[in-house]
């Protein structure tokens, strides 16, 4: 029989070291009425689950757990759905092993 242990993303991110630049999110989502398909995809494919649908069906970001992979940038920067920057030098995720 197959057993599946569902690991929570929060538990994964909890292992990591971060220096959060409080009050200066490095990624922002453009205000929208309904999300584009690519923006919607981020709620599934962001590896840190930074993007979530809010109660009124819009995509919102909390970038504290961001792994700075750039996936959302590749998918959504050109269309203007999001604004993407690296955190200020020294801030953000700090890999111990990488």
């Amino acid at each position: 029989m197959k057993t599946t242990i569902i690991e929570r993303i929060e538990d994964k991110l909890y292992q990591n070291r971060y220096l959060v630049d409080t009050g200066r999110p490095h990624i922002t989502v453009r205000p929208h009425l309904s999300p584009s398909p690519s923006l919607l995809a981020l709620t599934k494919i962001c590896p840190a689950k930074c993007y979530e649908l809010n109660e009124i069906g819009q995509v919102a970001i909390v970038s504290d757990g961001c792994l700075e992979c750039g996936t959302c940038r590749v998918l959504c920067e050109a269309s203007g759905d999001i604004k993407w920057n690296y955190p200020r030098g020294g801030f953000g995720v700090l890999f111990k092993f990488g």
């Binding site: 197959k2 057993t3 599946t4 242990i5 569902i6 690991e7 993303i9 994964k12 991110l13 292992q15 990591n16 220096l19 690519s38 995809a41 599934k44 494919i45 590896p47 840190a48 689950k49 792994l67 700075e68 992979c69 750039g70 996936t71 940038r73 590749v74 998918l75 920067e77 050109a78 993407w84 920057n85 690296y86 955190p87 200020r88 030098g89 020294g90 953000g92 995720v93 700090l94 890999f95 111990k96 092993f97 990488g98």
Partner: protein, 435 residues
Amino acid sequence: MTQSKFDAIVVGAGMSGNAAAYSMARRGLKVLQLERGEHSGSKNVQGAILYADMLEAIIPNFRDDAPLERHLVEQRFWLMDDSSHTGVHYRSGDFNELKPNRYTIIRAQFDKWFSHKVREAGGTVLCETTATRLAWDLSGKVIGVHTDREGGVILADVVVLAEGVNGLLGTRAGLRDMPKSENVALAVKEMHFMPEDVIAERFGLSGSEGCVIEAGGTISRGMAGLGFLYTNKESISVGIGCLVSGLAEGMENPYRLLDAFKQHPSIRPLLAGSEIKEYAAHLIPEGGFKAIPQLFGNGWVVVGDAAQLNNAVHREGSNLAMTSGLMAGEAIFQVKSRGGLMTKRNLSLYKGILDKSFVMKDLIKHKDLPSLLHTDSHNFFMTYPTLISQAAQNFVRVDGAPKINREKATAASFIKARSRWGLISDAVRSAASWR
């Protein structure tokens, strides 16, 4: 920061940036290297296999003090369906040589070491500093960079863009396009710790011997992707990468894919009892030769992943990055020592050197493979792995049915799934892209 002018500014202290900065500093050029991480390596993610020859060309005696994990004596390729794997294993005592050919490494530690070598060679390394944009003169030549530190532009004759796959500077300045979602894979990775002797026993290793597993098949759910499991001294790096376009189309969740990979009956026993200490994600450039942008211009060159110099077929990236960094450094040194200016024309020397090396030759060899895997991913990552698993099971299982019936069933299942014509065309196209 003093406002003096540098011979070269290197943006990024990953594999390519360190190689470039080291090779220039060692030859006496005045080099400034900028790295946004707390220290070099703190933003970087890799599997990671280090190819010794390419590092040896830069630092011949690196084995004396580089942080190396295990030297590889065995490589396994596994084709997986949901409950099985069919494998090719290559193991050789020849790899227990005086100067081993491949090692596993841990990037955060390795990059710190490499960065230390840059400093020893006389380069200035400034960490916790993000370059925010390039600075230009009126003639359209790059003359330096702006950073998120106070103090305005930092000037240099040439800027080496070693900013990695997600480099902002070059794309924002229009020097190259943003990577397309079908040309980059998102890899997620965990570090699983366990005692050295447990790793040795599970993989049949002794001393500092190491083993790596690359796995393809239904684990990527029909998307172009690969899983991997690499043994370090006291840890195992385990991860999976899939094209971003595939993930977006399938609305697939990368850490669920990783969890499923870890739960696969062939993988789970290898990780049992481990303690997870980190979860990371990073992009890998997979577009190959056709995705390589313009590599040089007035006052700038681009190296490594930022230039898409990555061989996804062979899972090589860091060696292409190091080699391109070294060659850019060499070209800049040559131009400088001839008293030349860092013009587009003079810097074309970099591409000239790169074209003659394995970097470009390998990428040209596999130029058609990325698009083949992209357009035909379901067959290569779903249909064939399942069929091959069934074929292997048909071959192995003994239950009183005549062998000839089993073989016919195997052949029929291939034809049913792909048609005769489909099989032939897949084979021809695969062979052609491999040639």
